[in-house]
């Protein structure tokens, strides 16, 4: 079993061959699915926990304080302690709430983000599903999360949750347009929606450099729109503590609240990894065409580290502007999308198409 850190295809192929040689084909496929499911679930849980820790530390340093530093070295196990506490909390049973929908809502939100993570390439060969409509699938599947939010607000039987859920729903649905359009701009540049092809095409330069102006505009719009879509940053009116309502997850307690909380951080991770994949080259090291020595040094770092590093930088940027800016009001938020981002996006798509046709990209 050759474990080549730079190309995990041989590793995954060897596991595949081993399974097929031992089990009948149906069970081999089933076992593979099980392995992948468990691996992604573990990744999801661990990354979710540590994103919460990272947020607390990052915001603490920006606010001139230290953050968690008691539980474990540098407070490393703080989130695990929080998770254990949430697991033990009483799941408050609400009689007047619609039981089925109330219990279903957190699962829908988690499933939506879980499905999206399956299509992202983590490293060369480490790709759960390589669909030929990769980007389209990711956008479509992450849109289903809004159902969970609306269900949570409605089934809570609480007018404040309903207000919060409606605001949140309106916000997410509006900003999906901007997210989709900015990704379409990059699809025009790459010529394919398949995520592995998009990453491979960035071998001699990342799309943000190749596509210069429209790609940069597209990246900025994507960053703004995806923060709004994940209810984060300056767009978190729906769940703001200092506003009137505590948002759609007021009535949830214990592990169900943890699901919403986790799903929000994982959504942030997903949009950051999409940004890193489509704009910054995914697991592709930074290559400058023509500088062989530089490229050789860059190649030395394993692709998985590149991927995590890029995603981490995008996440850090998102955290940075969450803790700096005040909140937008809901009508300002929606007018930002419909009056500013959408026209910019549409013009940008035309611009990119024009540039691709004329061949004025690198």
């Amino acid at each position: 079993m050759a474990f080549n850190i730079y190309d995990l295809t041989s590793f995954t192929q060897s596991i595949d061959k081993a399974l097929y040689s031992v089990l009948p084909p149906f069970w081999a496929v089933a076992t593979e699915m099980l392995i992948i499911g468990v691996a992604i679930l573990a990744f999801y849980a661990v990354v979710g926990l540590y994103l919460v820790y990272a947020e607390r530390k990052v915001c603490a340093f920006m606010q001139n304080r230290v953050g968690p530093n008691r539980v474990g070295p540098y407070g490393f196990f703080q989130t695990i302690a929080d998770l254990i506490k949430l697991l033990f909390k009483e799941l408050v049973h609400i009689k007047s709430a619609d039981q089925l929908l109330f219990n279903l809502a957190p699962f829908i939100v988690i499933c939506a983000s879980f499905l999206a993570i399956a299509a992202i390439p983590f490293a060369k060969g480490l790709h759960a599903i390589d669909l030929n409509i990769g980007i389209f699938y990711v956008i479509a599947v992450s849109s289903t999360g809004v159902i969970g939010i609306l269900l949570a607000g409605w089934s809570s039987n609480n007018k404040y949750s309903l207000i919060g859920a409606m605001r949140s729903g309106a916000q997410i649905v509006s900003y999906e347009l901007s997210v989709g359009l900015s990704l379409i701009t990059m699809v025009i540049l790459s010529g394919s929606m398949q995520l592995s092809v998009i990453v491979e095409n960035q071998a001699n330069g990342w799309y943000i450099f190749k596509g210069h102006l429209p790609a940069i505009i597209s990246f900025l719009v994507f960053l703004v729109a995806s923060t709004a879509e994940t209810n984060r940053g300056p767009f978190d009116l729906a769940e703001a503590e200092s506003e009137l309502t505590a948002g759609f997850h007021t009535e949830y307690s214990g592990i169900r609240f943890a699901f919403f909380f986790l799903a929000e951080y994982m959504n942030m991770f997903i949009v950051a990894s999409i940004a890193a994949t489509v704009f910054w080259g995914g697991w592709m090291p930074l290559h400058i065409g023509g500088w062989a020595a530089f490229n050789h040094i860059m190649d030395f770092i394993p692709p998985f580290i590149w991927y995590i590093g890029k995603t981490a930088v995008v996440i850090w940027i998102m955290m940075w502007f969450k803790w700096t800016f005040p909140r937008l009001r809901i009508d300002q938020l929606l007018s930002l999308e419909w009056k500013y981002l959408l026209p910019i996006n549409l013009v940008n798509v035309l611009l990119m198409a024009f540039i691709v046709l004329m061949g004025w990209h690198f």
Binding site: C59, N64, K159, P326, R327, I330
Partner: protein, 373 residues
């Protein structure tokens, strides 16, 4: 036809929500009963009284030096200024002239308290709007002022440093040095505040044009302080009826005419700068002398009614004492600036959105213990 009426009925349904006594963004225990139509505020009814402690009644049983300790706990952010008001009232009634040094000390401490109060306002205003980092930056800088207070009289916030006739102890030898260091430090930091919040497009969009208070309404509701000056109502007691050293210092009364939340914000930011100017003019010229006049052990005010007002951080704070010659007053009434400012909340929040209510409340900057006394 009936369908249309029913539809209209549903659309015009008003509902009432309660921003209860415990709420992160009403600064203290205040209950706001808000009538909403959709997202628009129709009416705001403040219900105060949750922290009524009967301070005015308690004053009737206490001697004049003891009243000072209670006034700390009214608008606790301008504690020193409240003490100053009571001392001025008693001293004017007894027709005592305090030494120059005392006036200098009181003015400098007043202005430091004003800066500290406005810093806390800035912290909580930023936090209410959603910029949580502002809270920590403001508090970090306010700690420096509180350290100066602690070195001077032992207490950080509720100073009780004033006493009728002067101050309790003399200034410690490092006072001038510390204050000067603070001013140099804070002039740099206030630029940071501007970078972080004032110049921010999001913040400007949430405050410009929101919560308009006209000058006539400000005068008729009695909205004084920075909230009134943001609407063009020139009401600074330091200019109109100077006390302490204000008649000898050169400072501007900050006035803005737009009357919206942003104007009130800018007035407070500029007031912090003016306070630093005042301190700079006074700190170098502290005269030598007594820090207190020798008073009788039991202070008795002559029979009559006495009123003295000063400019607290939030407006005109007045002390009205009715005395019948005894060592305790018959009646003490405090003119609370926050009470009048709060009364204008209903007027200026009509037809605004619910999210704006929080911004407006932050800009009026009310401290509830002063409302309830």
């Amino acid at each position: 036809m009936t369908e249309k009426l029913i539809q209209e009925d549903i659309e015009h349904e008003e509902y009432t929500i309660n921003m209860g006594p415990q709420h992160p963004s009403t600064h203290g225990v205040l209950r706001l009963v808000v009538s909403l139509k959709g997202e628009i505020v129709e009416r705001v009814e403040p219900h105060c009284g949750y922290i009524h402690r009967g301070i005015e009644k308690m004053c009737e049983k206490l001697t004049y030096p003891q009243i000072i300790h209670l006034t700390d706990r009214l608008d606790y952010l301008s504690a020193h200024m409240n003490n100053h008001a009571v001392c001025l009232c008693v001293e004017n009634a007894l027709e005592i002239e305090v030494p120059e040094r005392v006036r200098y000390i009181r003015t400098i401490m007043d202005e430091l308290a004003r800066i500290a109060s406005h810093e806390l306002w800035w912290c909580s205003f930023g936090m209410d709007l959603g910029g949580l980092t502002c809270f920590f930056y403001g508090l970090r800088d306010r700690e420096k002022i509180l350290d100066i207070f602690e070195e001077t009289c032992g207490a950080r916030l509720l100073l009780s440093y004033n006493t009728p006739g002067g101050v309790m102890y003399d200034l410690h030898p490092d006072f001038q040095k510390r204050v000067k260091e603070f001013i140099v430090y804070f002039r740099k930091k206030i630029k940071e505040y501007d970078d972080l919040l004032t110049g921010n497009v999001i913040m400007q969009q949430r405050t410009k044009g929101i919560g308009f208070l006209s000058k006539e309404d400000a005068i008729s509701y009695g909205v004084t302080g920075p909230s009134g000056r943001g609407s063009g109502f020139s009401c600074d007691v330091r200019k109109h009826r100077p006390y302490g050293m204000y008649h000898k210092t050169d400072f501007k009364e900050i006035l803005r005419y737009e009357g919206d939340t942003f104007a009130r914000y800018i007035v407070r930011m500029d007031e912090m700068r003016e306070s630093m100017n005042i301190i700079e003019q006074l700190i170098d010229n502290l005269p030598e002398g007594d820090f207190a006049v020798k008073m009788k052990p039991i202070i008795r005010l002559p029979e009559g009614e006495y009123y003295q007002s000063i400019e607290a951080a939030r407006g005109e704070f007045g002390v009205y004492i009715i005395s019948d010659g005894n060592k305790t007053p018959v009646r003490v009434k405090f003119r609370s600036p926050n009470f009048c400012n709060l009364s204008a909340l209903d007027l200026i929040s009509r037809k605004q959105k619910i999210a704006d209510l929080v911004a407006i409340g932050g800009s009026l900057d009310y401290v509830i213990p002063d409302i309830d006394r």
